[in-house]
Amino acid sequence: MAKVIMTADDSASVRQMVTFTLKQGGYEVVEAVDGKDALQKLAGTKVDMLITDLNMPNLDGIGLIKGARALASCKFIPIVMLTTESQDSRKQEGKAAGATGWIVKPFKPEQLMAVVKKVLG
């Protein structure tokens, strides 16, 4: 059975690109437009991995990571955050909240796939 990955991003173009790349790689994808939307969807579906942006309206990435880790189904799944180079402090914050790793924006499809492979195996 194909593994399910959730992408949470308020930017439609990034979401589109992530979804496309992951589907090409044989994964199933669930999209969420912000942290709140993501948490709601996580409660109902089982996902194997979460890729989230940090800056999102309603609930930001850090909040999402904390919320997800509190769910039994998401306690041990890999969570990867999308950051920009300048956001080193945010990166630390995300790690403290329970993120597994990060991808620095801008990134290319190959880089995304490499990280997915790294944390999901």
């Binding site: 589109q16 306690k75 329970g98 597994t100 801008p106 290319k108 790294k118 944390v119 195996g121």
Partner: protein, 694 residues
């Protein structure tokens, strides 16, 4: 589809560019408006970021340059000036052009791009080299495999960050040969254990050619909160010579798992070290297992290595090699002096030493010169591209075949050969190979062939450029030669001489001047370049079947074997590669030839050049002179000298600018006794004499 993303990005980018333009125009009026500067920067930043994400790498790279400048402006390091705005506007137009071009598939104007970048960099006040270029991942040369000892102790709570250590181990295994030993010594009793904690750690022995950074990359997400030790344990070349890999105790000692005292205490008992250490409670069994695994791993790796026995190599700056060869050259000179002195003294002990030194010097010279040898193949592949491009340009179908790419030549020679070879290949393509229709009409395959070959021949390398084109037109060459006044109308020329005319200055038989093979300045330049390398060039051709050009090049330029000869009190060197044999010339022989300078050698007439008169050396020739018979372009020509002294290793020294054009002399060398001997330029001498005779 991916095109969809690209389309989305382009729409976004067009919008941003429009916004950028208006921001820039406003900025010109209010150059200090931080808000505007920020807007320009952000627009550039987004275009760069999304551009590289959706495969517009050229746009991303170019935009990065502009962004860098505006980052400086934003930080107050650079003032907004009219010139900056102009350049940025130009850059904006360029980005737009690049976006447009991406659609149509047309290329963008790289010069314009480069021009803007240079302009911006100048403005920012840094030179190209210091410019903050986008971080490029340094391409590392393939290196020898190194074995690393890795200890990975994850933090207790690694699982709650969603990290699965096993995927990391799996990733490591992809880097090379990997032995994993799990260390379970840290497990607490069941009551105390946190079921969600990680109590295991791993010792890994990894042999990889990827380097330590690749290993660290594997752990990039966890390295901050885990204990990670990576250390290289063995350079393969080093332990190759050892009989066995390190003893168990040594490994543990090196790892700091055991102190020397502990080890000695254990060793004193003369039992199996590992068992003892464990039973005494100094070590946990896992550690011993791990060290044993390392021992085994390295044994295996070494076995593999012995099987493969891959040839390792190191890179050395070219200057160092040149220095080495120069030093060897000096050494050869000194050695010659030593031999000479030893011979004069006639002391057996000294003679023995001198002989030993002579033998060693010869070996040293050969291996030093060998270091500078490179396979000619790298040049060949460049020519393949040339052939491809040129044939497309001329509408010809041409295939290039190569042979002997592994043939080695001195580095300098290869470099200097490049231009002449390019010229010869161009000639073959332009003048040699016919258009497809013409070829088919002549019953040949439409696709022509240019063959490039290299082969060793004695102390030289033969490079052939052969095509199966139209061949040389003897009549056309003859007509042209007469027209150009190179030969007289009545001249009777052999085929060889006729073909030789194409190397005369200002000779060209092509009916039209094309951009490809030029204006008839080519072949004489080629010939001179080859001769400057002490090489020769030879043409053979069959009308309608093709042309073959053979270039003969000596293996090295720095040191040659030569024949030392003497005229009066002066010594001269003749390159041994050109010398066929030596015969005597008596007064009677001279008288018999009636001043025609021809010698009878085994029923053959060989013309000779009396060097004594040629060089205007006074004094009387001895009763029996020597003729050194050389072979130049397949023709035997003798050189009359007083004495032939013998073979000599000649370190070539150039004569300097003042003597550059001296006829018949290609260089000089220093003899064992410190005197100077001139090196004769045999082909040039022969040519000069031929010219004088008409």
């Amino acid at each position: 589809m991916i095109d969809q993303h690209r389309q989305a990005f382009k729409e976004e980018a067009y919008e941003l560019l429009t916004e950028l333009e208006s921001s820039l125009l406003e900025l010109e009026e209010r150059p200090d408006d931080q808000d505007l500067i920020g807007r320009v920067f952000r627009a550039m930043h987004t275009i760069k970021g999304s551009g590289s994400m959706f495969g517009f790498d050229d746009i991303a790279g170019f935009t990065h340059e502009v962004e860098t400048i505006f980052d400086m402006v934003r930080n107050g390091k650079l003032q907004v000036t009219g010139r900056l705005v102009n350049l940025t506007l130009a850059a904006r137009d360029q980005i737009r052009a690049m976006l447009d071009a991406a659609d149509s598939g047309a290329g963008t104007d790289l010069e314009a791009t480069a021009g803007i970048i240079v302009g911006l960099r100048e403005l920012a006040g840094f030179q190209g080299a210091e410019a903050p270029v986008q971080k490029e991942e340094a391409k590392e040369a393939p290196r020898d495999p190194v074995t690393y000892r890795i200890r990975f102790v994850p933090s207790r709570d690694i699982f709650i960050t969603g990290t699965n250590p096993l995927t990391l181990l799996a990733e490591l295994k992809e880097l090379g040969t990997c032995t994993v030993v799990a260390q379970t010594g840290g497990f607490p009793s069941l009551e105390e254990m946190d079921p969600e904690g990680c109590y295991v750690y791993w010792d890994l022995i990894l042999t990889t050619d990827q380097g330590e950074n690749a290993i660290r990359d594997v752990f990039i997400f966890v390295e901050d909160d885990c204990e990670l030790k990576i250390g290289a344990i063995a350079e393969h070349s080093r332990y190759d010579e050892q009989q066995d890999y390190k003893k168990l105790g040594e490994i543990l000692l090196e790892r700091g798992d055991i102190t020397p005292q502990e080890m000695e205490a254990v060793l004193a008992q003369q039992k199996r070290f590992g068992e003892l250490a464990v039973s005494q409670g100094i070590l946990h069994e896992g550690k011993v297992q791990s060290a044993l695994a390392e021992q085994k791993h390295l044994k295996e790796v070494r076995q593999e290595k012995q099987v493969a026995d891959s040839s390792s190599s190191i890179r050395v700056p070219a200057e160092r090699l040149d220095l080495l060869v120069n030093l060897v050259g000096e050494m050869v000179t000194v050695q010659a002096r030593l031999s000479q002195t030893a011979a004069q003294h006639g002391e057996p002990e000294l003679l023995a030493i001198a002989e030993e030194v002579e033998r060693l010097t010869a070996e040293l010279r050969d291996s030093a010169l060998n270091i500078r040898m490179l396979p000619i193949g790298s040049t060949f592949s460049k020519f393949k591209r040339l052939v491809r491009d040129l044939s497309a340009e001329l509408g010809k179908q041409i295939e290039m075949t190569t042979e002997g790419a592994e043939t080695e030549l001195d580095k300098t020679v290869i470099e200097k050969l490049n231009d002449p070879l390019v010229h010869l290949i161009r000639n073959s393509i332009d003048h040699g190979i016919e258009l497809p229709e013409a070829r088919e009409a002549a019953g040949k395959p439409a696709r022509g062939t240019v063959h490039l070959g290299a082969v060793h021949s004695g102390d030289s390398v033969l490079i052939t450029i052969a095509d199966d084109g139209a061949g040389l037109d003897k009549d056309a060459i003859r007509t042209k030669g007469i027209e150009r006044g190179i030969i007289s109308a009545s001249a009777e020329l052999s085929e060889k001489e006729l073909f030789g005319l194409i190397f005369a200055p200002g000779f060209s038989t092509a009916k039209t001047i094309s951009s490809v093979s030029g204006r008839g300045v080519g072949m004489d330049v080629v010939k001179r370049a080859i001769e400057a390398l002490r090489g020769s060039i030879d043409v053979s051709s069959v009308r309608g079947r093709g042309t073959r050009i053979t270039v003969r090049i000596p293996l090295t330029l720095a040191i040659i074997e030569s024949l030392l000869v003497k005229i009066g009190n002066d010594c001269f060197m003749m390159p041994l590669s050109l010398v066929d044999e030596c015969v005597e010339l008596t007064r009677e022989d001279v008288a018999r030839s009636h001043g025609r300078n021809l010698a009878h050698v085994r029923e053959q007439l060989v013309p000779y050049i009396p060097l004594r008169s040629r060089f205007g050396i006074g004094g009387c020739a001895p009763d029996i002179e020597q003729i050194v018979i050389t072979r130049v372009d397949g023709v035997r020509v003798g050189f009359v000298v007083d004495h032939v002294i013998g073979e000599h290793q000649t370190v070539i020294k150039s004569l300097g600018r003042a003597y550059k054009d001296t006829e018949g002399i290609s260089g000089a060398t220093i003899l064992g006794d410190g005197s100077v001997a001139l090196i004769l330029d045999i082909p040039q001498l022969v040519q000069a004499v031929e010219m004088e005779r008409g």
